[in-house]
């Protein structure tokens, strides 16, 4: 799994390329923690290149959300693919995290 961090207008975009599963979940957590330590507070996770996610991956999302909130910021997800959309729905995780259509939409309302 590969990550890219991009400073955008008013938020930070973290893109995750590859499969987010039990192996790569800790990497995502580490990546987001690093971004938070560097002072990024409002984070959008761009999942456009994340072709697969399992429950450990979803667990990592919750971990990242917790880290961002505790730093006084937030974590949002955007640009999810079909499989990820499905697991979000299956686990009801979409009731916690809104999957935004586009990275730009994530912080539009706040």
């Amino acid at each position: 799994m590969k990550f890219a961090v991009l400073e955008r207008n008013g938020f930070t975009e973290v893109s995750a390329h590859g499969r987010l599963n039990m192996i790569s979940a800790p990497m995502l957590k580490a990546e987001v923690s690093r971004a938070i330590e560097l002072g990024h507070r409002r984070i959008v996770l761009n999942l456009g290149e994340t072709e697969f996610m399992d429950s450990s991956g979803l667990g990592a999302l919750v971990g990242c959300l917790k880290a961002a909130r505790q730093a006084g910021g937030d974590l949002r997800i955007a640009n999810v693919r079909e499989q990820v959309q499905m697991v979000l729905k299956l686990t009801s995780m979409d009731r916690i995290l809104t999957p935004y259509g586009d990275v730009e939409d994530a912080y539009r309302n706040a």
């Binding site: 399992d54 979803l58 667990g59 919750v62």
Partner: protein, 653 residues
């Protein structure tokens, strides 16, 4: 299997005869003059008949998985050895055996005692070591479930083999179990728990050949095999899904309640004289509006993440404005409140929704000032957020609602559609308690945990479970109520032998022709099902330990309903200091004496013509049977622990 048909016929006959008997008992036999014993006795008999019916259902379609499917190559497996305070040598012996498991895997020692020497020793052997991190400080630890959940977050294997510290695995344990996971819906494979330090006559009733045999095979037949905490392989994905579902459910419940509770606190605050200040009033109104908006957003389908973020940001802004106004005495007020609220958060936000309600009531009753009200709303929102701050981990894969996390976890797995397997082959050998006090502690814990689960998540109305699955869980829970029935079965003969009181009208042909066939069939069923396994010890203990079972029920009920602590103790694995046994089994000792006195009294009363011969004989037989049941405790109390040499000698002969 030729015998499954025989078993079914006998099972069906037993239940039919039982129904005939119990119907007659309720409708035609009760001695209302002695209702105080007649009613409890017929209730106890009804209890036992239900037990028999559930047992019959259990063994109706016993699974027969003789050969395990071949384990596919390339799976990733973590082997977890859970320890708390066991002797490091014992843990290391298990660790060595775990490292020697043939299928490629990673071995981890999960040390809840966080002992540096344990870490050093485990790492010397080449095993991994996990203990809890700083995130657990000041948070509920959830005993073994917490230990496992912590390790699940530290590791990455697709499958997890869980072993208690004393369960020495055989090298083929993974080869014999992983194949079942070819079925992608299988969440776990349980294998038997068998103890190597138990003599032939098993004085403490440690082996459970009926449970790790026909009962688990029967449950397996209904896709309801139980996960029993050790010697089981679990699929990480299934556990993580369970953790996620629990997180979402808990977060939704908490956030919704916090929004409502916050508005209640505010409404009370607005009635205070200080709230007449226009600035304060405006602020209070604004926060109340924010909370209302939060609820509205949730109702209109917003996610909990977004809604809570909005509310928190808005309330924060409101509080900042208020503080900026530099109100007189405000900061002192707020500091005092924060101290109170810290305590509130700690104690109030456990798993129980009723506790949250009670805590909010206390907050409201505290007559908060307006600033205090804002602070308390913030505290509520902080504590009840999407971060699950009252727990060390937001995602908790293993259930934490009970001290027997295993049963609760498997019930939830079944309820979310996962399948399970019971593989009937001994693949690990453990150590059983070697003295009566340790054994009693262990049985009490199992029973408490089971009753806790029954009271917290009643399987009978658990969505997602099939009816047979519900009944399989209920059957085990039901069996732990036997303590109450046992008391009645002990009191029955005493009532007649000491006082001449008979709970039935008469010991007539009508009684015997209904009772005897039921009883005989019941025993035949038992023998058929046990298939040579020694089940007598289990039968003795299920009645002889009635004080333990009753205490388990009352303490678990007090815990679930009134939040009282269970008095939980870790089962000692090594023989500790020998405690005296008699203080632990005095109710049984008194009963045995009473029963013997009863027999003598019964004969004397008969001699004086105060009672009839048949009644006396029947009740003496009954009393002797009771004493024989209780006698198991004599051997248990005198048991000096396992002597391996005795077995070795016997094998040589």
């Amino acid at each position: 299997m030729m015998s499954i048909h025989a078993i079914r016929i006998v099972a069906a006959l037993t239940v039919v005869m039982g129904l005939i008997y119990i119907t007659w008992r309720w409708t035609a036999s009760l001695n209302w003059d002695a209702w105080w014993i007649a009613l409890p006795l017929v209730a106890a008999e009804t209890y036992s008949l239900i037990d028999v019916a559930l047992f019959s259902l259990t063994i109706w379609r016993m699974s027969n998985r003789e050969v395990a499917p071949t384990a596919p190559q390339g799976l990733t497996v973590d082997v977890f050895i859970t320890t708390y305070n066991e002797d490091p040598e014992l843990v290391l012996e298990t660790t060595r055996a775990a490292l020697a498991i043939r299928y490629p895997h990673t071995t981890w020692v999960l040390d809840d005692g966080a002992r540096p020497e344990m870490r050093a020793a485990a790492e010397r052997l080449g095993a991994g070591y996990v203990s809890r991190g700083s995130e657990w400080q000041g948070k509920p630890r959830h005993a073994k479930a917490g230990n496992l959940n912590n390790a699940l977050h530290e590791t990455q294997g697709e499958f997890v083999l869980i072993l208690d510290a004393d369960q020495i695995p055989r090298p083929e344990i993974l080869d014999q179990t992983l194949g079942y996971f070819n079925n992608r819906r299988v969440a776990f494979v349980q294998t038997p728990q068998w103890f190597g330090n138990v003599p032939e006559n098993d004085p403490l009733g440690s082996q459970a050949p009926l449970f790790y045999g026909p009962i688990q095979q029967g449950k397996d037949g209904w896709n309801a095999a139980f996960f029993c905490g050790s010697n089981a392989v679990l699929r990480r994905e299934a556990l993580m899904q369970l953790g996620l579902a629990g997180y979402v459910e808990d977060t939704e419940r908490r956030v919704s309640r916090a929004l409502t509770a916050g508005r209640r606190v505010l409404r009370t605050a607005r009635r205070r004289p200080e709230a007449r200040d226009p600035n304060v009033a405006a602020l209070l109104a604004r926060v109340e509006a924010a909370l209302a908006e939060g609820s509205r957003r949730l109702d209109s389908g917003d996610s909990f993440g977004d809604a809570t973020y909005f509310v928190q940001a808005d309330v924060d802004a409101a509080v900042r404005t208020l503080v900026a106004r530099d109100l007189e005495a405000a900061s002192a007020d707020a500091a005092a409140l924060r101290a109170e609220l810290a305590e509130f958060e700690d104690e109030a936000l456990g798993d129980d929704p009723a506790e949250l309600d009670a805590a909010v009531d206390r907050l409201v009753a505290r007559d908060l000032s307006p600033l205090g009200a804002l602070e308390s709303v913030r505290a509520l929102l902080d504590a009840v957020s999407v971060e699950r701050l009252h727990e060390a981990q937001p995602i908790m894969p293993l259930s934490t609602i009970s001290v027997t996390e295993d049963m609760s976890t498997s019930m939830r797995l079944h309820a979310s559609g996962w399948r399970s397997v019971y593989h009937h082959e001994i693949l690990a050998v453990g150590l059983a308690p070697e003295d009566l006090p340790s054994m009693l502690t262990q049985r009490l814990r199992w029973a408490q945990g089971t009753v806790q689960v029954m009271l917290r998540e009643n399987p009978l109305n658990m969505r997602g479970l099939s009816w047979p699955q519900r009944l399989m869980y209920f059957a085990t829970m039901w069996s732990y109520l036997s303590g109450f029935a046992a008391v009645v079965y002990f009191a029955g003969p005493l009532a007649y032998l000491l006082f001449g009181v008979l709970p039935v009208h008469a010991l007539s042909t009508a009684f015997f022709e209904r009772f005897v066939p039921f009883m005989v069939l019941n025993q035949i069923l038992f023998v058929l099902v046990a298939q040579g396994a020694k089940t007598w010890r289990g039968q003795q203990y299920s009645l002889a330990l009635f004080p333990t079972w009753i205490r388990a029920c009352t303490s678990a009920a007090a815990n679930v309903w009134f939040g009282r602590p269970l008095g939980f103790a870790v089962t000692p694995k090594s023989r500790g200091e020998r405690r005296r046994a008699l203080p632990l089994v005095w109710p049984q000792a008194i009963l045995a004496v009473l029963l013997i006195v009863g027999c003598v009294t019964g004969v004397i009363r008969w001699g004086f013509g105060l009672s009839q011969g048949l009644g006396t004989v029947v009740n003496i037989v009954w009393a002797i049977f009771d004493v024989v049941l209780l006698s198991v405790l004599v051997g248990a109390a005198r048991y000096q622990g396992y002597e391996p040499r005795a077995v070795a000698d016997k094998e040589e002969v």
